[in-house]
């Protein structure tokens, strides 16, 4: 759409700008403040420069949490995206089952995150939970509160359970926008199912897939409540992701300087990756 130049449009944006700036700018400046200074309470501050940043960037603990975070995000993207595409492709397009599928699939997305954690905790309890009991009675030694691998698997499966539907719904929206004529043309050309997918469905889903990956990347990189309720970051530190570690440092140990420095580095990493995504997305749209 060709847009007209109109500087008065700023007035329409102003309320949003003020509200978001109030919530974003003041807290962000507080974080920046803490990240550059040392305080012993009573509002007395000492200039520390970049000490905290160096400390965080060189700390083994941060490296470990960061790697765990990357591994987790990588794993859930590798599972959720193909699974989401597969479910979207096989979903009915017409008829009474469409609504049923959509409502049931969207259900996990609307459950409060701590309830998701609590639900999976109950589900996976080794002696009394549905999943834990079934696995153990099949002879699998499974106890997510003590085995790091089991804790990891449970966290990943929980996230797949929670968020794959987002990918499904997005892909489904993309698929529904393909006109029937495209499929008819493919059938006349004698295209195989794979060719139809590769040359018709996948290109049409490209846009929505970018949004899906962007949203899943952001949210999984910020994940806090679900693994915190499920495993509490344990056993040991094995499922302590970046946000959990950050809250431990900031509110648990009250080390405000290092926590603030870590916050900023964390935020910058998310921003950088999302900016790259966003640029690619917008470039495609403009073509």
């Amino acid at each position: 759409m060709n847009k007209t130049l109109n500087q008065k449009a700023w007035w329409l944006v102003l309320p949003v700008l003020l509200l978001v700036a109030f919530n974003a700018f003041i807290p962000l400046m507080t974080v920046v403040n803490y990240s550059l200074q040392e305080t012993f309470g009573d509002n007395v501050f000492f200039w520390e420069g970049l000490t905290w940043f160096e400390g965080v960037l060189n700390s083994e603990r941060f490296h470990a949490a960061f790697l765990r975070q990357l591994l987790f995000t990588g794993m859930i993207l590798a599972i959720e995206v193909p699974l989401g595409i597969a479910v979207a492709l096989t979903m009915p397009r017409k008829g009474p089952w469409v609504s049923v599928c959509l409502v049931l699939m969207a259900l996990p997305l609307l459950i409060p995150w701590n309830v998701v954690g609590a639900m999976w905790n109950i589900f996976a309890l080794p002696d009394i939970g549905l999943l834990g009991y079934t696995l153990n009675s099949m002879g699998v030694d499974y106890n997510f509160t003590q085995q790091p691998v089991a804790a990891w698997m449970t966290t990943v499966v929980m996230d797949v359970w929670h968020w794959t539907s987002l990918v499904v719904l997005l892909c489904y929206a993309g698929l529904c926008s393909i006109p029937d004529a495209y499929y008819q043309a493919a059938r006349i050309d004698g295209a195989s199912a794979w060719a139809t997918f590769r040359y018709i469905q996948l290109p049409k889903m490209k846009r929505v897939l970018t949004i899906a990956i962007l949203l899943r990347f952001m949210d999984s990189f910020m994940i806090y409540t679900e693994p915190f309720v499920l495993t509490g970051g344990g056993p040991g530190n094995t499922t302590t992701f970046l946000s959990i570690d950050l809250v431990k440092i900031a509110l648990g140990q009250f080390d405000l300087g290092p926590a603030a420095a870590m916050s900023l580095i964390y935020f910058l990493v998310v921003l950088l990756i999302c900016w790259a995504f966003y640029t690619i997305m917008m470039r495609d749209e403009n073509q």
Binding site: L104, N114, V115, G174, F221
Partner: protein
């Protein structure tokens, strides 16, 4: 052949989604003794005691009321300020528009864990700590950008000729906006409201940080139960099951638009 067996994949997927929910709901109807006594697929002694406790104890049912109050407040604020802004982004070019749009989106990317402590200090300083409006305003941080993004997508699908015709007919901007434009994109507004509701309803970290007693959300009440009063799994399961209901309720209303909404109105 492939066509006829296609339903297997969605069916299996939905079964996988429903299993943990079933586990939660079935546990909510069990007595504590039965839960701790070992695993059972169906409740042996069916009991409503857990639900009774929640509906009679004010600390429990107030949690639901508090959550619903700030979620509704947030939805109303977010959508009403996002509407004119989204219109500006979809119709006009102005100084710094692209940067502003991206800056808005960056707030959707801010990890709530980063903002928890500064938010606590900010809202304490202005005397709003432990009020519903504090949580509603804090959730605006990520809900307004999302609402702007979704509404902008829907609005870009409305041809510009609609606006121009209305102005030629002598409509003022606000009269056109309220009488003609808003009804035209009603579906988009519904979807944006749904998403604001959803993200405000599921968020816990900020809601918990900004409240203590008077505006305590249900999710925080649940965490307290899990930690202090021993391990009342049945009660926890019942409270959890009840949090699913508002979500299921609002999904039903937007089911036909939900897929388009997740694509941010851009399909």
């Amino acid at each position: 052949m492939i066509r006829t067996r296609q339903w297997i994949v969605p069916t299996l997927y939905i079964a996988f989604l429903m299993l943990p929910i079933y586990g939660l709901i079935s546990m909510s109807f069990k007595t504590t003794n039965e839960i701790l006594g070992g695993f059972s697929f169906f409740p042996n002694e069916f009991t409503l005691a857990n639900y009774e406790k929640i509906f009679t104890d004010p600390t429990w049912y107030n949690g639901y009321i508090n959550s619903l109050i700030y979620v509704v407040m947030n939805t109303v604020i977010s959508v009403s300020v996002a509407l004119p802004a989204a219109y500006a982004f979809s119709r006009y070019r102005f100084l710094g528009d692209k940067h502003l749009f991206f800056w808005l989106l960056t707030n959707r990317m801010a990890p709530p864990a980063v903002f928890a402590l500064p938010f606590f200090q900010l809202y304490s300083a202005i005397g709003l700590f432990d009020t519903h409006i504090a949580v509603a305003l804090a959730h605006c941080l990520f809900n307004i950008p999302l609402a702007v993004w979704i509404l902008e997508g829907f609005m870009s699908g409305v041809p510009k000729e609609l606006d121009e015709t209305a102005y030629l007919d002598g409509y003022s901007f606000w009269r056109f906006f309220i009488r003609i434009f808003i009804p035209t994109i009603a579906a988009g507004i519904g979807v944006a409201a749904f998403f604001c509701f959803m993200y405000s309803w599921v968020e816990l970290l900020l809601a918990k940080t900004l409240t203590s007693v008077a505006a305590k959300p249900i999710a925080a009440t649940m965490t307290r139960t899990a930690s202090t009063s021993g391990y009342e799994l049945g009660l926890l399961a019942a409270a959890g099951s009840l949090t699913i209901i508002p979500g299921a309720f609002v999904i039903y209303f937007v089911r036909n638009y939900i897929a388009k909404g997740f694509a941010l109105g851009r399909v």
